[in-house]
Symmetry: C2
């Protein structure tokens, strides 16, 4: 018997595994404009672009039901998919919802989960058009696919950033990660002590950012109203560094980001201090912000400056210069994409 070769998946990591699996895939259908490699696939349907994105959420990996209400989980599961469609500068229209449910869950539980999905859909005018429901041996599995549309000329890929473009980000960063740290700390503290309720006063914002993120349709609308079309765009699910890396890699450019310009909320800063964590590291690598990261031509500087909730944090440069953070004290530090590595 010959021995079968066994290579651990951790040697590739998530992005490496995806590259490996999708290497050499040839697209044969005329309607397939863009496949793997952006926030969503792009299909050409009679001249109109259809966008497709999908997310798989597994209990114990992506969520912990000890502190995540099922209604919030449903809301978030839908929202992260809408966020991918907005990140293509498109409009989400339909989702399919597949659920794997273990016996631990009652109909009331699944109703709560579904109620959250439906609220998210109502807020963003998205239709639930199908799905699959099955039992699971262990825990809860949620797989959502979202379909959106866009005028072909409006679509923004990750690959369009040019030298001198401004790097912009919506909202603030690191709060969802701090919310997660807080929830994990309280979970550990309360173990075996069901009667005590944690006190979250003054920390509502970071909890909300973790449990009930909002996809930034409002930012997309602001950009349209201002007549700004980003050259590249991505949503921040794995952390600013990781997403910047995607844009720079796919656009063939480098970047400079200024630490002092990275938007961070007060509650995020307080929590990082309390946990003795480096605030900038949290903002760069925390993940789950679901904010939009995009680049615009430098000529749009004035328009961006007038927008509420959008910050310019740096600029795109030549690829030879690499990706770097300019710290508050003026030093240059190479940006590394740590992000979330679920396969690590």
């Amino acid at each position: 018997m010959t021995e079968t070769k066994r290579t651990e998946i951790a040697t590739l990591g998530e992005f490496g595994l995806i590259d490996h699996l999708t290497e050499g895939i040839e697209l044969v259908n005329a309607s397939t404009r863009r496949g793997v490699g952006d926030d969503a696939a792009v299909l050409d349907m009679a001249g109109k672009a259809t966008l497709v994105t999908t997310d798989l959420l597994l209990e114990g990996i992506h969520f912990d039901l000890t502190y995540t209400p099922l209604k919030h989980l449903g809301y978030k599961a839908a929202m992260v998919n809408f966020s991918d469609i907005y990140a293509m500068n498109g409009t989400p229209r339909q989702i399919t919802v597949s659920l794997g449910i273990s016996k631990r869950f009652s109909i009331e539980d699944i109703d709560a989960l579904y109620a959250g999905i439906r609220i998210a859909c109502e807020d963003h005018k998205v239709d639930i058009v199908g799905g699959d429901t099955t039992s699971s041996m262990t825990g809860l599995t949620i797989s959502i696919t979202c379909i959106g549309d866009a005028e072909p000329a409006d679509i923004v890929y990750r690959s369009g950033a040019h030298e001198t473009d401004l790097i912009c980000v919506s909202g603030d960063l690191g709060a969802a990660y701090m919310g997660l740290q807080l929830l994990e700390r309280e979970k550990a503290a309360l173990r075996g002590n069901d009667d005590v309720q944690p006190d979250f006063a003054g920390r509502e914002y970071i909890l909300q950012r973790q449990l009930r993120p909002e996809a930034r349709r409002d930012v997309i609308e602001q950009l349209r109203q201002a007549g700004v079309k980003p050259t590249a765009m991505i949503d921040i699910s794995d952390g600013l560094s990781s997403e910047l890396m995607h844009i720079c890699k796919q656009s063939g450019v480098g970047c400079r980001v200024f630490e002092e310009h990275i938007p961070i909320d007060y509650q995020t800063a307080v929590m990082a201090e309390e946990l003795n964590m480096n605030l900038t590291t949290c903002a760069l690598n925390g993940g789950e912000d679901y904010e939009l990261l995009f680049t615009v031509p430098i000529g749009d500087h004035e328009k961006i400056a007038q927008m509420e909730g959008v910050r310019m944090i740096g600029h795109i440069c030549r690829p030879e210069l690499g990706m770097a953070l300019i710290t508050r004290d003026g030093n240059e530090m190479e940006l590394k994409a740590q992000g979330w590595n679920h396969l690590g």
Copy 2:
């Protein structure tokens, strides 16, 4: 503290749960033509119809890796989605593939799985356009969404069957279920005995039907060439009885199916005999056949009679007459949809 109500999901069953969750969903997008309730959703993209279907496969529920080669599993996971698109009389064009992978699996394992998916895609000219890859705490999770297209006028729903229509089925039934029974028997017999290899000689067909099902594009093509448009159509994943029930319920009709006309392969019959199982029950409720079940106007009788691999097994009747099987000895038995109930 008020007690939370807990209703077991088993009280509703899979179809009941889906009905319950999707009750009262209102579709708000002009592009959504048909949502939950058929083999695929139907979207209207600039006058052309887009079809969307999705399947969630979980280890321990839908497949057993003790006897399922990963390459075959990948092939089957893609194929069952194509089958849903063909069942709408459409053409599959794109899929997204999401994988949840536990540490038990190596890159070589996932390569094998993906190789199977890619072979299925090449055979049916389908593009892999995206997906999601994550680690899992337990086992393997596969979630595939398939996008297809069709001319709006060509789409066949489950709801179009009329009184006097002929009920037709492609291929033969019950073989995949017998293949599963054989594999389960050999697994039990070989437990703790790794040196012995099972002898599957003369049973290749039922194994192939279980491990490597084929979506019936050829049947769709035959129907088109013959100029036959079915009035209703569904693919047989949960068993003939269950699928007939969907067509009858959604079309508001009854049916009569003749036991003697149900197509069954010789190997299926031999295996049922050996296992002392009722052959007709296996053919009616076995599931995983991935054949097409459809109805045609009685005027198409001659055309169907000339088709290879398609059998007329009964006819549609008034709803008051219910769903019944006419046995070989001329008795009428009410048809009940046992099917697979993964949530039972």
